[in-house]
């Protein structure tokens, strides 16, 4: 008994009163709370949780500001004026025939009062007075009318003109440019990247691999702004020289897309190579034993076996291409345009965000909030692709372990 007590007390490093020891004999050998250890563990957990807070921060800010974008009102001048004095009770008002047309359902503002248009017959407008909690009041002839502009989700996702100055917020103009640059980039990066991966994993001598892999790493490590410079000063002149300076504009999506393609070659090649080298040797040896040539082994046996890993690489590359910013900001042009011609300038989602936020931006303006709506679309697109890519990788890992 005494031996156990002294052992326990030595293990705890403190003197234990005998009486207490006898009473709590069993529990003394159990796990005791260690304050220091628990604190450290709690701190480390906090570090991990911080990453979740980052995600929540991104989702909250993008969502919150986007919501304001879709709910905030913007007053646009109709260039119409009241043609006659109006008192607080009149439902029918006379307007000048200048400016833009009014439609039933329009929300108008005269002074501090808001009106809703019910019917329009020529210049005679029937309205509901004092809507949106404002009080009807008298207005004199010549008071100007403003119309409320609110961007609806349908308009945002369904139209193709992006021109904040005149209240046009159709995101397809930007999404289309993003898809074009990304598609061009993938057309370059996927075949070249995959070919490099097959060469490195199946053909290259260890020595060649030793030289080539660091070079690809350097290619991946060059800052994107330098690639932007490259696109503008080498790729664009090259395209203009090949296709003619009349066809190819100084800023165009083709040049930006091609250079993004070069940028993501290392990503595609290194991820695909990992997938190819993970294929067990036995598969290759079996193919050789059946008399297959090196090419047949690589293309018909190893490649199909690594397909899911390669697909994951392709999808991740697409996500990188969509999120790429500086190259398009420098080389693709400023000013949203809905065009399918790769030699015309067009602005991508990322390019637009950079250009607008680089200037003087006032908070809570329509411009400011619209950037977050674009950001949300961008975030969801890349997140979706990343999740798909990870799913594929996980399934692929299960196949050979």
């Amino acid at each position: 008994m005494g031996a156990i007590k002294s052992w326990v007390s030595r293990a705890r490093g403190i003197a234990v009163p005998t009486v207490m020891m006898n009473e709590r004999r069993d529990s003394a050998l159990h796990r005791r709370p260690r304050v220091r250890e628990s604190l450290i563990e709690a701190f480390l957990l906090l570090c991990g949780v911080l990453s979740i807070l980052t995600t929540l921060g991104i989702v909250y800010e993008l969502g919150h500001e986007s919501l304001r974008f879709f709910t905030s009102e913007q007053w646009e001048a109709t260039n119409k004026e009241l043609a006659a004095d109006v008192d607080a009770a009149t439902q029918t008002i006379l307007v000048t025939n200048t400016g833009s047309e009014l439609h039933p359902g329009d929300n108008l503002r005269v002074g501090s009062e808001e009106l809703m248009v019910l019917t329009v017959v020529g210049d005679t407008v029937t309205v509901e007075r004092g809507v949106q909690g404002t009080a009807p009041s008298a207005h004199v002839s010549g008071a100007s009318l403003e119309r409320s502009e609110r961007v609806t989700l349908g308009e945002f996702l369904g139209t193709t003109e992006w021109n904040p100055q005149i209240g046009k917020f159709g995101i397809w103009a930007l999404v289309n440019a993003t898809l074009m640059t990304s598609l061009i980039a993938l057309l370059v990066a996927l075949p070249v990247g995959l070919a490099v991966a097959i060469y490195l994993s199946e053909y290259a001598t260890p020595r060649a691999r030793q030289v080539l892999k660091p070079v690809l790493e350097v290619l991946a490590g060059v800052p994107t702004v330098v690639y932007g410079y490259f696109a503008l000063t080498l790729m664009t002149p090259l395209l203009r020289w090949i296709f003619g300076a009349d066809t190819v504009k100084i800023y165009n999506t083709a040049s930006a897309g091609l250079v993004i393609g070069i940028l993501i070659i290392p990503l595609v090649s290194s991820m695909s190579e990992d997938a190819l080298t993970a294929v067990p040797r036995s598969l290759r040896e079996a193919a050789y034993a059946l008399g297959a040539t090196k090419l047949e082994t690589a293309v018909k046996v190893v490649l199909p076996a690594a397909l899911s890993g390669i697909a994951a690489a392709f999808i991740l590359a697409a996500s990188r291409a969509i999120g790429e910013t500086m190259i398009v900001a420098i080389a693709a042009g400023a000013g949203a345009a809905f065009t399918f011609n790769p030699f015309e300038p067009a602005e991508t989602m990322t390019g637009h965000i950079v250009r607008i936020s680089g200037g003087d931006l006032s908070y809570d303006s329509m411009d400011y909030n619209s950037l977050f709506a674009i950001g949300l679309v961008l975030f969801l697109m890349t997140l979706g692709l990343n999740i798909i890519s990870q799913r594929i990788v996980r399934r692929f890992r299960e196949a050979y372990e």
């Binding site: 250890e37 450290i40 563990e41 701190f43 480390l44 570090c47 991990g48 911080l50 990453s51 979740i52 980052t54 921060g57 991104i58 800010e61 993008l62 070249v192 070919a195 490099v196 097959i198 060469y199 053909y203 080539l212 070079v215 350097v218 290619l219 490590g221 060059v222 800052p223 994107t224 330098v226 690639y227 410079y229 490259f230 503008l232 070069i262 070659i265 290392p266 040539t293 090196k294 090419l295 047949e296 999120g323 500086m326 900001a329 420098i330 990322t350 965000i353 950079v354 936020s357 680089g358 931006l361 950001g375 961008l378 975030f379 890349t382 997140l383 692709l385 990343n386 890519s389 990870q390």
Partner: protein, 416 residues
């Protein structure tokens, strides 16, 4: 039935050989194609480097308001103080002279200072045209002829846009005098802040996930979340930084809350905001790298330590971390080199592009090297493209040296 007859058919070598040679030829052709693709990737890198070097050097036609040879027969650098003062008195307006005298009397200024004034105010060189290095070397005759025809008054000289003056001079609107000192300092400040915040948190999270976390829903969510964060475009982090650090916490990031800045003039677009944003951006990269390094530490080390009665934290602190440290540091250096090249999030946060004073602390406005490159590249005047090329060389030099440190560290670690 037909299948059976096919399998029992006998083939001779002659039946195989024509197809065999065909298959081998296809193999050879494709081997060349695959190799060619690799060469294309290499060529892209070479083209990129050549393009930058091409822009950073070359002929420039420089026009002077007053040609230096008319001022004195010996080079201006060799003139004495008195001679330089005489030149200044001859060529400058009295108003301007009085202003300089008021700043610091001319007679008390050093010869170097006076020489700078003479070059800036009297000689006033101006670049009227410039050529790339390749043109300057391979089309020299043509360049000389064009320069003589179009800019008869200009002096044609070989210029390196990357000079020690370029490294040490602050930003300027005049391409002959612009430099990247403020940008380099801004880059160093932001990277330092990003590192100070992201490194401890990142390593902490990695230790938690590798050494403490049980396989439960919460921890799986953390892990998946980190992997997803690593794939979020950097510009999204810029928007987060703009909304949170610049706007929401503007009082703190501008220094107003600490009484370090004037509330009326200050805004949250400071080095601190930028550093914190970059810290968030690089956090998942550091976590993932550190996790890999910690995972590579053999389990026997942990078991030995735990078996001797060490607590979990003692095991981590005294055994796991020291042996994972080289790996963690290598990963961190690579993460830094990524942060150093980031441009988009900083543009979104609103880094000021025209800053001529060195940043003095975390609450000052700033510009960074990549932003400087972006700004110069998007200027319409061609001469700024040469500056962008020179600045790109500086940036690449910094990144390559960082990578070299990482490789050295890795090799040393491997040797042990």
């Amino acid at each position: 039935m037909s299948a059976l007859t096919r399998t029992t058919e006998t083939f001779t070598t002659q039946d195989f050989s024509p197809r065999l040679s065909q298959r081998r030829r296809a193999g050879r052709i494709w081997a060349v194609v695959l190799q060619a693709a690799t060469v294309v990737a290499m060529l892209a890198l070479i083209a990129l480097l050549v393009n930058i070097i091409d822009g950073a050097f070359g002929y420039a036609a420089v026009e002077y308001t007053v040609p230096p040879e008319t001022l004195s027969s010996v080079p201006l650098e060799d003139l004495s103080q008195d001679q330089l003062i005489t030149i200044l008195r001859e060529h400058l307006s009295t108003g301007l002279l009085r202003r300089y005298e008021a700043e610091k009397p001319l007679s008390e200024r050093s010869a170097e200072d006076l020489y700078g004034l003479v070059v800036e105010r009297v000689v006033a060189p101006k670049v009227v045209a410039q050529w790339s290095l390749l043109d300057s070397v391979f089309k020299r005759e043509e360049v000389l002829r064009t320069a003589a025809e179009q800019y008869p008054d200009a002096e044609l000289r070989m210029v390196s846009w990357l000079t020690t003056r370029f490294l040490t001079a602050p930003q300027s609107g005049d391409p002959m005098r612009a430099g990247v000192r403020t940008a380099i300092l801004g880059s160093l400040w932001t990277v330092a802040i990003a590192l100070l915040t992201a490194f401890p948190i990142g390593v902490g999270a990695a230790i938690y996930l590798e050494e403490y976390a049980r396989d439960n829903a919460v921890n799986r969510v953390i892990q998946v979340n980190i992997n997803n964060l690593a794939g979020v475009p950097s510009i999204i982090y810029g928007m987060l930084g703009l909304a949170v650090f610049v706007r929401m916490l503007g009082r703190f990031t501008s220094g107003v809350a600490f009484g370090l800045a004037e509330p009326s003039a200050a805004n949250g677009r400071t080095i601190l905001s930028a550093g914190l944003t970059l810290g968030l951006l690089v956090l998942p990269v550091i976590i993932i790298n550190a996790q890999e390094a910690i995972r590579a530490v053999p389990g026997s080390l942990r078991e030995a330590s735990l078996g001797l009665g060490a607590t979990r934290w003692q095991t981590v602190w005294h055994h796991v971390l020291p042996s994972a440290l080289p790996g963690i540091l290598t990963g961190t250096i690579l993460a830094i080199s990524r942060v150093m090249g980031e441009t988009a999030p900083l543009v979104v946060i609103g880094a000021s592009t025209f800053i001529t004073v060195d940043p003095s602390g975390p609450f000052s406005q700033f510009t960074t090297l990549p932003i400087q490159i972006y700004q110069w590249t998007s200027r319409p005047q061609d001469v700024f493209r040469n500056l962008a090329a020179a600045a790109s060389l500086v940036l690449l030099g910094m990144l390559l040296s960082l990578n070299a440190v990482a490789i050295l560290l890795r090799n040393r670690y491997r040797g042990k």
